[in-house]
Each structure stands twice: as structure tokens, then as C-alpha cells.
């Protein structure tokens, strides 16, 4: 029996919690401890060690790979370069526009510390990124389309809840079926973001609020809703509590290409997720395995999903993968 991969988690919000659950599902991993600025946290499994972040240095020889489960806005840009000095890491940095700069700042540390630090893992960036690149590599003449949803959008839900007369509510982003069908037919349409997506709001009104006025305010809100096909549903507090407490998400990457004498070739990848944070952290956890294996091969540096062979994230050996999965 091979030794299990010893994993740690820094940050214990939805993502850290999902990572704890995902590690428990993996046959070859064990969770050593959860680290938080809050000190002890309420872990799913009460047996899991919960430690203040200031103590993390003491775990240098006890943890093979550290999962960084903080936010992209302020946590990760500071934490990843810091912890890359002493740990192999995997993180979910998802501010697309800042990835090159983030990669550089992590890689500078990794090159000196000789650690493997895999950045921007999850589903977008992450699995969607893999599919965009592979489909385009194979079908050079073609277009790639990314559609998101059905998904709960945190930013848009916040915007809805700020409207006067709204007591509570959520917003879902939905892919436009019409737009997706055009792409699947090989029509290669030009589509703006607002043509690819629709928005659906479920709100509870404050006592005495005017439904029509609130609806109009939401639908005409600049940047958030005015350019989209937006539907507003007025529901009761009971319905909100009963039907809208999950964090679903997902989406589609569709590549439409042509080969030879104009043959249409459609490649489609999609996710339908009942829990967005649990899925994202499951991806992080699988890449912890890759970080560990790359480190054992003597590799180091900042890495992305593009650098890593798919077999590295699966528990089976290369020989078993060839035999059972290829």
C-alpha cells in the first residue's frame, strides 16, 4: 500500500469546505489540517485538525500539497507567493485578466523554492480552459463559444437585493438555447455576451412594495440587466427558502469547426452542477495529485492545467490507465 498524499487546506469558506468533502472521497489522499485566520473552524468531520493560519509553518514536513481556498481579489495574490516558498500548492485564482501577472509573481517564488505551484484550477478557469484549447488545436478552422449557466450569480443577486422594495432574492444566468442551437448547427454566428445569455430573478418583495415598479427597476438596471433578456419572478419567502438555497452552476464550451471539403465538426463540453463550490474544489483536489506527482518527478515552477497531462490527476497508474481507460 502506497503512502497517502497528505493534503492541507488554507481558507475555510465554501471552497475549503468543499475541498474537505472531496479529499474524503479520494482513495489515495488524507487531510492533515485546515488552516484559517479565524483559528479553529467548524469542519465537516470533527476529527479534522483545525489550526490558526499563523501555525502553518510548523506543517512544512507534514503536508505534501497545500490547497489555497481563499478568494482571488485579495487572498490569493498575497497568499500564493507567500506559501509557494514552503509548499507545493494548488489554487483557483479566477480573475482572468490578471492571470499573466499572477502567474509571474508565483513562478518567481517557485523557481527559487523549487516547488510545484498550480494556479487557476477549477472549471473556468480550469476544465473549460482545457476544452477551449484542445478543440481549437484539433479544429483550426472554427470558433469556440462559452456559455454559462444555469447558474446562481453572486454579483447579480447582490445587485437585485439592493433594489428598493426587494426584501430578498437570487439571480440565475441562463444560456440562450436559441444561440446554442445556432452554434450546434455549425452556423458560426457572431454573438455578444447578452445574446448568449438570459437572466432570471426570483425576488421577495418588501411589504407594500410595488411589483411592477420593482420589476422595471431591475430590468432597466444599467450594466447588470438592461442589455439582457431578463425575467423577474415574484415569490414568497417560503418559496425562496425551499427552492433557491443551492448554488447550482455550469455551462457549455462548444467548438464548431470545419475540415476537408467543408464538413461540420462539433465538439461540445458541458457541466451541470448542483453545487458549484463543491465541484470547483473537487477539481482542485484532483490537481493536488498532479502537483505531488510532478514534485516527485523533480519538476517545479508555476503551472496551469495546460502543462499537465490528464493522467496526472487520476489515481490509477499510467499502465492501468492505458489498460482500462484508453
Amino acid at each position: 500500500m502506497t503512502k497517502k498524499i497528505r493534503v492541507g487546506i488554507i481558507g475555510y469558506g465554501n471552497l475549503g469546505r468543499g475541498a474537505e468533502a472531496a479529499i474524503a472521497q479520494q482513495p489515495d489522499m488524507e487531510l492533515v489540517a485546515v488552516f484559517s485566520r479565524r483559528g479553529a473552524v467548524d469542519t465537516i468531520d470533527p476529527e479534522v485538525a483545525s489550526v490558526h493560519i499563523d501555525e502553518v509553518d510548523k506543517f512544512q514536513d507534514k503536508i505534501d500539497v497545500m490547497l489555497l481556498c481563499g478568494g482571488s481579489a485579495t487572498d490569493l495574490p498575497e497568499q500564493t507567493p507567500q506559501y509557494a516558498e514552503i509548499f507545493h500548492t494548488v489554487d483557483s485564482f479566477d480573475t482572468h485578466a490578471k492571470i499573466p501577472e499572477y502567474f509571474a509573481s508565483v513562478d518567481k517564488v517557485s523557481q527559487a523554492s523549487k516547488k510545484v505551484n498550480i494556479i487557476s484550477v477549477g472549471w473556468d478557469p480550469g476544465l473549460f480552459s482545457v476544452n477551449r484549447v484542445m478543440a481549437e488545436a484539433v479544429l483550426a478552422e472554427g470558433n469556440t463559444y462559452t456559455f454559462w449557466g444555469k447558474g446562481l450569480s453572486q454579483g447579480h443577486s447582490d445587485a437585485v437585493r439592493r433594489v428598493e422594495g426587494v426584501k430578498a432574492g437570487v439571480q440565475y444566468t441562463l444560456p440562450s438555447e436559441e444561440a446554442m442551437d445556432k452554434v450546434r448547427q455549425g452556423e458560426n454566428p457572431e454573438l455578444a455576451t447578452n445574446e448568449k445569455h438570459k437572466r432570471e430573478c426570483y425576488i421577495v418583495l418588501e411589504d407594500g412594495a410595488d411589483a411592477e415598479e420593482v420589476t422595471t427597476t431591475i430590468k432597466t438596471m444599467p450594466n447588470y440587466f438592461d442589455e439582457y433578456d431578463t425575467t423577474v419572478h415574484i415569490i414568497s419567502e417560503e418559496e425562496l427558502a425551499r427552492d433557491h438555497q443551492k448554488m447550482p452552476h455550469g455551462g457549455f464550451v462548444i467548438h464548431s469547426g470545419k475540415t476537408g471539403a467543408g464538413h461540420n465538426q462539433i465538439v461540445e463540453y458541458s457541466l451541470k452542477l448542483e453545487s458549484n463550490p463543491e465541484f470547483t474544489s473537487s477539481v482542485l483536489v484532483s490537481y493536488a495529485r498532479a502537483a505531488h506527482r510532478l514534485a516527485q518527478e523533480g519538476q517545479f515552477g508555476a503551472k496551469t492545467v495546460y502543462d499537465i497531462g490528464p493522467g496526472y490527476i487520476h489515481p490509477a497508474s499510467p499502465a492501468d490507465l492505458r489498460k482500462k481507460y484508453l
Copy 2:
């Protein structure tokens, strides 16, 4: 301007022809020559050099990567170990059960010749294999289902044409929509191959043949049709020529998993191909790029899609991929 990757093709059937077309679509590749046992062949682009296979040794310094486009039954098991001595290669060996033995025989040569030899590239084995492994790595608790179709099946078409009274015909394999829907709903059904697929035959009758008798003979044919939901359509020669000359194929890899407290998570990958051989050879061509880059890094040995980072098959640099696609 970087030098283009110089590619050669051995074997000029549907796959070799598709490879010629695919290389022409890639910005960073050039086709040096096509090699065949038949000597000169009728290439799509008449400017392409067409050379007898016996001359291939002379091209050792003129070709960076050789695509082996022969068949899996007899060509590749002989050719790949032979040409792996002098070329980096990519092939589409697709006899799933024999892959371990084939890998070993190629790797033995590659280790000595220090060449990169990527085996079993295409869509199944190939892109489907990648998706089976990645989805299962992420969602450890779950089941993976592969459905094929709608696709023209050569073996089943041959079987139909051997039936007395059948003048000509084709057979398509179709995925069962009912079975796919069960999987997509997270039901994790147990499904035998004949529950996952249906078979559809389009046949032209010989003069005087009995439609009902022929239909019954086909539907009850052991191994090929008796255990499947099979439909037989009688059509005219004109209809066969007009509607059934393409080689469509495709299929679905659906992984249904659960995370945390039982949340369903569905990952789906699908291909809808108007030309199966053109798509397969497009995949081969993209992996020629990976073979070339791995060789430049000093790597060697037999490889599969599991060993190769997705970025290696795309023409853009790692920095550009991070900036534009991640």
C-alpha cells in the same frame, strides 16, 4: 518567424487523406511527403510529394514528425516499432484490448532510439479517453458512460450487405436518448451495450427480393443485431447515393458523480462529426505538434494522450494560452 514543423504521412487511405487536409489548416506545419506501398498516390494537393514507402529512410532528416495512418489490425503493429527507430511518430492504434502490448512493443524501440512515439490518438481512443479519466479523477464517486453515434459502422454495414436479397446498404449506430436522459438525470443506471444503442439500416433490395424476409433476417442476425433495437428502412439506389455517402460519427462521454451531501454533478463531452476520418486525422495532426515539442524538450519514449499537457497540442505559446484562453 519560427520554422514550420515538417510532417510526413505513411499510408494514404481515408485517414492519410484527412491528415493531408488537416495539415493544410495548421499555421505552423508543412507536409513534406506522403508515403505509400502503392508508390505515387493521388493527393488532394497535386504539389505534395508522393513517394514509395521503400524510400522513407531517405527522409530521416527532412521530417520532424511522421503520422502513421495505416490500420490497427496489421499495419501499425508492424510499422510503428519499425519507424519509431528513425522518426518521432503519432498513430491511431485503436484495438483497445491490445493497447498495453502495443505500447510495450513501441516503447522498447523508443527508449533505444530516443524518439517520441505517441500511440492511440484520435477520438476513441483519444479525446474520449481524456474525458473519461478527467471526469472520474474529479468526481471519484460516480459512473462514466460512453455512448457512440450517430455513426456509420463499417463492420455492421458489411454484415447487412452480406444478407441475401440486399443489393447495397449502410448501418448507423445511434445512442439511445432514453438511456442518455437517465444518465443525465443522475440516476446512475446499469446499462448493457444493447441498452445504450440502437441500430438503423438503410438498404436497397435486389430485384425480386422479399422485403419482409430480408428485414427479419437482418433483425435476427446473431451478435450483430438480434440483441438490439434495430430498424430497417428499404430505400432506392438513388436515395442511398444521395443521402448516405458521408462518414458521420460521434458520441457522448457522460460522467455522473456526487459530491458533499449528495449533490449531483454531471460532466458531458460530445462529438458530432460529419466526417469521422477527417476529424480523427485532425486529432493526429494536433498531437504531431506535441511530439515535436516534447522531442525538443529532450523527452522520448512511447506516450499516450494521458501523458501530454493540453497546451502542447495548440499552436500558441504557454504565455499566450494563459493570457487568451485560461
